[in-house]
């Protein structure tokens, strides 16, 4: 049985704006195993990005626990969190993913550089990864010379290249057409499964759920439903469940 890469216990994140407090994440608990690909779905404002930011150690929760590879984020200082982000986490953001003055290849390799692991073998791996994401002919393009979808794929490569324990992707398909989106998420799912990462993908598009092992549905910060059954997930992806 594969180990638990990510564990969330009673997680709460509240924001107070003008005196009113809202719970962007409200008492959420779940686990993700290595090699498991999970979708986080829910309406806009339901707390998905907030959730992901906490998992990526970019945001401190109000209460509750996050364990990555068994390490409790709350017990780390900022320096350790920075180290965790660069070693154990791969992250793609909703937008503004790439370093604008680095080419596609350099953006991916930068993750290796950060970890002091850029060598001949890892360079080859990085080019192979970009090739699998359909970017062989874009290696030398700067982000501004790529479409939004191509940029997202570069970001996915960057999120995977350093063999992180947990890969978090916030709406990587938002700027892709359906066909491209399917391709990208399928490749993403394959890479997660092959390499035994714990993957979480946030998406608006329920059709993308066909590639995941489990779907977590959020609403108003709460985890309202989990789909684990293959058949249920397939139906959800086809649009027969709401």
């Amino acid at each position: 049985m594969s180990n638990i890469a990510l564990e969330v216990r009673d997680l709460v994140k509240s924001f107070s704006l003008d005196g009113a407090t809202i719970n962007a994440v409200d008492q959420v608990s779940f686990q993700v195993r290595s090699g498991e690909f999970v979708a986080l779905v829910g309406p806009s404002g339901s707390g998905k990005t907030t959730m992901l930011s906490i998992l990526a150690a970019l945001l401190t929760p109000t209460s509750g626990q996050v364990l990555i590879d068994g390490q409790d984020l709350a017990r780390m200082n900022e320096k350790q969190r920075v180290k965790l982000r660069r070693e154990k986490i791969g992250f793609t953001f909703q937008s503004n993913n790439l370093i604008p003055f680095l080419s596609a290849r350099e953006n991916v390799e930068f993750m290796l550089r950060l970890n002091g692991r850029l060598d001949h073998a890892s360079r080859i791996r990085s080019d192979e990864l970009l090739a699998r994401l359909g970017l062989s002919d874009r290696l030398h393009n700067l982000p501004a010379q790529m479409s939004g979808g191509q940029q997202q794929r570069v970001a996915i490569a960057r999120a995977l290249i350093h063999n992180p324990a947990v890969v978090l992707a916030d709406e990587p398909t938002a700027s892709l057409d359906t066909e491209r989106a399917n391709q990208v998420v399928e490749t993403f799912a394959n890479l997660i499964h092959e390499n035994g990462r714990a993957g979480i993908i946030v998406t608006h598009d329920l059709r993308m759920c066909q590639y995941v092992d489990r779907v977590l549905q959020m609403q108003d910060g709460k985890l309202v439903r989990t789909y684990e059954n293959k058949k249920e997930i397939r139906e959800l992806a086809r649009g027969s469940i709401h």
């Binding site: 070693e87 909703q94 790439l98 370093i99 003055f101 950060l114």
Partner: protein, 386 residues
């Protein structure tokens, strides 16, 4: 060390990929450099023009008339003071110096010069680098600053004519040029040297002065047996000789009319140019950092430390400043080649070096705010902006 490589990588990649933008700032820095170096050179040139003769004197102390406030032109000493000075214990030698201003008219374009009377072989008379020293007495001979020779094509052996207002009338005197000295500009004019007795006859003088034939020296240059004993010797001279005051070379230079004011002006100009430099560089990098908030957010979010982000900003500013100062230095050199010798620009090593160091410092100084800003960017907020 790893941080340094990472930071350099980021800094330099960004500069190369945005070379147009960075070149523009580098050019602005280059122009500021050009300006600062020229102001420094002008300062040095003006200073030289004013003080060169005094600064190069083979003497440590200058004797003035009491209450002359160390002003060479208002000091008139008794003729025999120089003999008294030579008798003071600890004085190696002393020479009287007579100053005035005149004009060489035997040229297509009259040239204003400082005409100094000095005694051959005594302090006050600079070493002759070509030709010979003038004979004493009332010999109509002159030794000339090489600068004059360069500007006018006058050669050793030529006879020059000077104009001198005697009372109410212009009179003309012929002098044979017998030798050259170097670097002896005084009062912002090139100098010619003549024997004291000749000086007394041919110098411009008022009606009342015409009646006297005794030359009164303005100052006396005193060479000490022990050059380090300026304090003690100054006190001793004032003590033993009446009606005098004594200054060292530095004080004398600072009291040359206009010298301090002029240097102050030049330094203020230089200071403000550097200040403008700081503001321009600071402004540019601050605006740039505001545009870069999302990318810095990404860098931090994927695990770059504040150290790397800050260091990269510092390296970038230093690199751009160095390129700018380099271009500016090169431009200054090229321009300086084309400048006529009449413009008082002197590129003095130490002054230029100080200017270059200051210029290299103003980059990081100007960029300081932006660096602090970069380090403080919170990754999540930065990402939410996008």
């Amino acid at each position: 060390m790893k941080n340094f490589f990472l930071a350099s990588y980021l800094a330099i990649k960004e500069v190369i990929r945005n070379r147009g933008r960075f070149l523009l700032v580098a050019l602005v820095i280059a122009l500021i450099t050009l300006l600062v170096l020229f102001i420094a050179a002008l300062g040095e040139g003006l200073a030289n023009g004013n003080r060169q003769y005094v600064a190069n004197l083979d003497a440590q102390l200058i004797v003035f008339l009491e209450k002359s406030d160390f002003s060479i032109s208002s000091s008139r000493l008794e003729t025999n003071t120089v003999k008294s000075v030579r008798r003071v214990d600890g004085v190696a030698d002393a020479g009287a110096i007579y100053t005035s201003s005149t004009e060489i008219v035997s040229l297509p374009e009259p040239l204003k010069v400082s005409m100094l009377g000095a005694e051959p072989g005594r302090p006050g008379m600079p070493p002759v680098i070509a030709g010979r020293e003038f004979r004493g007495g009332e010999a109509r001979e002159a030794v000339m600053d090489r600068n004059v020779a360069l500007r006018t094509d006058i050669e050793i052996g030529d006879v020059i004519q000077i104009r001198s207002t005697q009372g109410t009338e212009d009179e003309f005197f012929d002098l044979e040029v017998v030798g050259l000295v170097e670097g002896q500009s005084y009062f912002f004019q090139p100098t010619i040297f003549v024997p004291p007795a000749t000086w007394e006859i041919i110098r411009p003088q008022s009606q009342s002065e015409l009646t006297s034939d005794t030359p009164y020296p303005n100052i006396i240059a005193v060479k000490l047996a022990d050059p380090l004993q300026t304090e003690t010797m100054s006190a001793r001279l004032v003590d033993e000789i009446s009606n005098i005051e004594v200054a060292n070379i530095e004080t004398t230079i600072n009291n040359i009319p206009g010298y301090s004011a002029q240097q102050g002006t030049v330094q203020t100009q230089g200071f403000f140019t550097l200040l403008i430099g700081i503001l321009v560089i600071g402004g540019f990098f601050q605006i740039q950092i505001l545009q870069k908030v999302p990318q810095i957010g990404v860098l931090k979010a994927i695990g770059s430390s504040n150290g790397v982000v800050g260091l990269s900003a510092v390296i970038q500013i230093i690199v751009v400043t160095m390129i700018g100062v380099g271009i500016g230095g090169g431009l200054t050199y090229l321009f300086s080649l084309g400048f006529p010798p009449t413009i008082p620009l002197v590129f003095n090593g130490s002054r230029s070096l100080i200017a270059v160091i200051l210029l290299l410092v103003i980059g990081p100084l100007g960029g300081m705010v932006s660096i602090i800003y970069a380090v403080r960017i919170e990754p999540l907020k930065a990402l939410r902006l996008g």
